[in-house]
């Protein structure tokens, strides 16, 4: 299957939450997030001719997105991590908006923020319910090791929830 530009852009629009999540995990302020979002989009655009439908589109997106966030993206300036998200979500809150849920997600992002770059990737793929084989392939490690590492991270997360 070869994608044409239009189909590719359509898929990007449908699956854009993947990019949003990666940006929020790996970049801590709005400017850097926007910057990283743009860079991931550019990298996806540059790599899509090589996408041949061998892997699922989303699998491929995680891979390019994470590679960009971890290795290819270079911050323009040093960013100081803050708790902007909590403030932001409180400001946004209205009747329709489930504030507690949003706060919890913010809490989760904040916790993930203290993980290493690889742990961030692992936890994202875990939360997104990706298969161990896919996780292993994205990172370039064996499936068994991916499983072990994720079960450890789950424990770590659970302990944080207590």
């Amino acid at each position: 299957m070869r994608l044409n530009e239009n189909d590719f852009l359509k898929l990007l629009v449908e699956e854009q939450n993947i990019i949003h999540k990666i940006c929020r995990i790996y970049a801590y302020d709005e400017v850097t997030q926007k910057d990283l979002f743009q860079e991931i989009s550019i990298q996806l655009w540059k790599s899509y001719p090589s996408f041949q439908g061998k892997s699922k589109f989303t699998t491929w997106m995680y891979r390019v997105g994470l590679n960009t966030a971890i290795t290819l993206y270079r911050k323009n300036k040093r960013v100081i991590r803050g708790e902007d998200y909590l403030v932001l979500s409180e400001l946004k809150a209205d009747e329709e908006y489930d504030n507690t849920k949003d706060l919890q997600i913010s809490w989760l992002y904040e916790k993930i923020g203290s993980f290493t770059e690889i742990e961030k990737a692992l936890i994202l793929l875990y939360l997104e319910d990706r298969k161990y084989a896919e996780i292993a392939e994205t990172l370039g490690i064996s499936e068994v090791n991916a499983r072990v590492k994720i079960s450890r991270l789950k424990k770590k997360l659970k302990a944080m929830l207590e």
């Binding site: 854009q16 090589s50 891979r63 960009t68 290795t71 993206y73 849920k101 997600i105 090791n145 929830l161």
Partner: protein, 210 residues
Amino acid sequence: MNKLDILKNQWKSQKFDKNFSKEEFFHLTQKKSISSIKWIFIFSCIEFFAYLLFPFVIPDYFDAFEYYKSIHLFEFSIVTSILGYFILSYFMIQFYQNYRKIKATDSIKILIQRVINSRKSVNRYIIYNLTIFLGFLVVVLINAFKYDQNYIDLLDSEASGGVSIVKMGFVIIGIMILVLIFLIGFYYLIYGRYFFKLKKIVKELQIIEE
């Protein structure tokens, strides 16, 4: 349902304020990339051309060949110069190939290794340059002491109890150390933090694999 599952469900149902349309995505993708790879490649090009331009910036570079002739090194200097440009071209091709090989669709592990390897070839290039430069300097100095009357006189003053040659040796070594410190500092500033981070990730992946 345990707490982790609840969290996972919340994670999956999260929404983002900004939703990009097809047009907006297209617009985004047409912007300039600021990827580190591109940046490393650009820097290696700058380093490469800086060396190529070297002869034209130094005022007496071409007159130097006349001098080499006088100390019986003319053929040697010509051959090393030509050979130098061949090796330079080889490096430039390697830089470009490294740059081309790096794909965002590789696994994280392979990608990082490729990035590190590409930087290693730039490092080899710099080490090669410095070695050639120093090697050439040594050969020229040896021949200068053999054939150039000015240098031979320096040796004589040493024989008659002068310290000028020892002093000069110290000055040369001192300058070389300063240049080296400057170069190391310069490369640390440009590449240090980034490669330190990459190496940390490689190590982490190795630990997972153990």
